[in-house]
């Protein structure tokens, strides 16, 4: 049995390696490090996606599912098909090198697995690309929640100067409106000619088929006691208790992806920025007038004001440096982590919380030192990996091994004196000591 399992692991590793070798071949490579669009679509066909007619996915109650779909954009196969085509279409970018799938790459957990994304002309943004998997379950989109729905979110990267760089939505539509197939697809989906609103709607509809909620954790919850390792089971208890994860990352029938849909300052940007001077600057910028959605979009991506997070949207002090609680589903394949991709491994993430985040005046009070032992950290990480859908099983094994190897030598956020409260945040600063 053991030998057979080993063999099968080896086989899968072989498959992965072969796939990666294949991906490395020049012909398969798209610009900006993405897998070629045609290859991505082939991979997509091997994943069994959600129903295009809007039937609730596995383990999601009809009520919870219905709440994620706007009443003016019901799911139909035609809309999914249109969204599918748009998702992989590089023509939507100014220089024809970037599609949605560039930063939401099928072969990379529907993100780009890099700290921050690369857009047209190799320009780097300021934020980590979140996965589009299960994104429909989140109440707001983007790290600062500035788009309320997927429909709104999908339209913004296309016109973002650093991402896809189109001057406006009409220009994007103009690039595809001459394509007879698009005309046909738009007509079938929305009974009208191509237009930008429907681009957003169709992309959102396609993304609603990307529901990946079939993880070892779910199978264990369903009663398969062998689906999760003993360590992961202990990690789940920590998740619910001592480690306080569940308070912001609830996973249950109503909220299957593990986000409270709120915004918390956990101190990630405090490592890079002085919040108060930044906040002062933000107010000055805003006083100049014209802080429309586009201006905020621009500010967030082009300046270090981006580190103020949700504050840029609400101007509430409780939101300074606060970012959306990201879902925990599929974290095994969606690293690096946090809004700036500053954490390479899940060990780093747990280390960060274990030390009570990074102290700053706006730190969420719920972020406290956790006093987790090394064993407990490993258990918690094991649980987090068990939240990745079985359709990514081989990939997550490779990534887990790589992260584990890295964590053996590099733990930049581990700080036991803080975790075990031997050192109190603010103490050094109040006493005028340098940190």
């Amino acid at each position: 049995m053991g030998a057979r399992r080993l063999l099968s692991v080896a086989c899968m590793l072989g498959v992965v390696l072969a796939a990666e070798r294949a991906a490395a071949q020049a012909s398969d490579k798209a610009p900006h490090g993405a897998l070629a669009m045609s290859e991505q679509q082939k991979r997509l066909d091997t994943l069994s996606l959600g129903s295009p007619t809007g039937a609730p996915p596995l383990r999601v109650t009809p009520a919870a599912w219905a709440a994620t779909i706007p009443s003016d954009n019901a799911m139909t196969p035609e809309r999914v098909a249109l969204g599918h085509k748009l998702f992989f279409d590089v023509r939507l970018s100014a220089d024809g090198t970037v599609a949605c799938a560039t930063c939401h790459d099928v072969s990379r957990g529907f993100t780009d697995q890099r700290p921050v994304s690369e857009g047209i002309g190799g320009k780097l943004g300021r934020r980590n690309a979140p996965t589009v998997l299960n994104a429909t379950f989140l109440a707001t989109q983007f790290w600062d929640g500035r788009a309320p729905r997927l429909e709104d979110q999908a339209k913004l990267p296309i016109v973002n100067p650093i991402e896809m760089g189109m001057p406006n939505g009409e220009a994007a539509v103009a690039k595809i409106a001459g394509d007879a197939e698009y005309v046909k697809l738009f007509q079938a989906a929305y009974s009208r000619a191509p237009n930008y609103e429907d681009v957003g709607r169709a992309l959102a509809t396609f993304e609603r088929t990307l529901v990946f909620l079939d993880a070892p954790f779910d199978r264990w919850s369903d009663g398969d006691t062998k689906a999760m390792s003993a360590d992961a089971v202990k990690g789940f208890a920590l998740y619910q208790g001592k480690a306080r994860c569940v308070s912001c990352h609830p996973i249950n029938g109503a909220s299957p992806v593990g986000s409270d849909d709120r915004f918390h300052n956990i101190g990630v940007s405090a490592r890079h920025q002085d919040f108060e001077s930044l906040a002062g600057r933000a107010l000055t910028e805003l006083a100049k007038g014209g802080d429309s959605q586009a201006a905020i979009d621009k500010l967030a991506l082009e300046s270090d004001l981006s580190e103020l997070g949700r504050f840029l949207v609400t101007k509430r002090r409780s939101d300074v440096g606060a970012f959306k609680t990201e879902q925990l589903r599929n974290v095994g394949v969606t690293g690096p982590y946090m809004h700036d991709g500053s954490m390479q491994t899940l060990w780093d993430v747990v280390d960060h919380y274990n030390r009570g985040g990074e102290a700053n005046l706006y730190l969420d009070g719920g972020v406290e030192p956790l006093a987790l032992s090394e064993t407990e950290i490993n258990q918690l990480v094991a649980f987090l990996f068990a939240l990745t859908d079985v359709r990514f099983a081989s990939q997550v094994r490779t990534i887990e091994a790589a992260q584990r190897a890295r964590a053996k030598t590099t733990r930049p956020f581990r700080e036991n004196d803080l975790a075990f409260r031997k050192v109190i945040p603010f103490e050094a600063r109040v006493r005028g000591e340098k940190k």
């Binding site: 619910q240 208790g241 001592k242 569940v246 308070s247 609830p250 249950n252 406290e368």
Partner: protein, 225 residues
């Protein structure tokens, strides 16, 4: 009296269930050398009263009972007249339990339905004594096992803002639907920084009793945020 019984039964539970705990008791080197064999020391939850016994004593409920009895005997000798309930009531008030006086009599002459003055007195006093025991735990960081000197009353004087009438409900801190006791345990684990209690721990039962009693008259409204 009730408080005493609760303490003793808590101790018994520990002794009966946890051989480990006995082994963890301080080994007394001096006593060991004097007697020529290992002895272990068990301390009562007052932190002062102690008894020694052979370290190789059998780990059975009977043996545990013996140790518990010895501890309580010693404690009673030291504290001959103490009345914990009366003492607790000088510090903290509790809402009175229903007196049921309207039920006294036997209008239909039912065998089991005949309710006497004595019955209603018993019901009321016993109910209140349980609540008093809860008040004692509620107001004591030591009873709760707080590692940072925090007790429930520090944020909830007279159990204010504990809203037991709103349970069961979706508790955001816990990401699921909980009962009052689950939230008590969350508080014990986090702000109080102690070890959560078992659902049937006498202290948990007493805490629930006190909290419910203090909200006498509030309408049940489960699910209310």
């Amino acid at each position: 009296m009730r408080a005493r019984v609760i303490r003793a039964s808590a101790l018994l539970a520990l002794l009966a269930l946890a051989g480990v705990w006995i082994l963890r008791a301080t080994r007394s080197a001096d006593a060991a050398s004097a007697l020529g064999k290992d002895t272990a020391e068990v301390t009562l939850c007052d932190g002062q009263t102690k008894v020694e016994f052979a370290a190789d004593a059998p780990k059975t409920p009977e043996s545990g009972q013996k140790i518990a009895d010895a501890l309580m005997k010693k404690w009673r000798e030291k504290n001959p007249n103490v009345d914990w309930e009366a003492e607790e009531l000088t510090h903290h008030t509790i809402a009175p339990a229903a007196d049921n006086k309207d039920l006294v009599g036997s209008p239909q002459g039912a065998t089991y339905g005949e309710i006497s003055e004595r019955d209603v007195l018993l019901w009321k006093t016993e109910s209140e004594r349980f609540v008093v025991a809860g008040s004692k735990v509620f107001h004591s960081g030591a009873e709760l096992g707080s590692t940072i000197g925090v007790s429930c009353d520090m944020c909830h004087p007279d159990a204010a803002n504990t809203h037991p009438e709103t349970y069961p409900k979706y508790q955001v801190q816990l990401g699921r639907v909980v009962l009052l006791r689950d939230m008590i345990n969350w508080c014990i684990e986090h702000p109080v920084r102690a070890t959560p209690l078992a659902a049937d721990d006498p202290r948990m039962r007493a805490l629930e009793a006190y909290i419910y009693a203090q909200r006498k008259g509030a309408a049940l409204n489960y699910g209310r945020r």
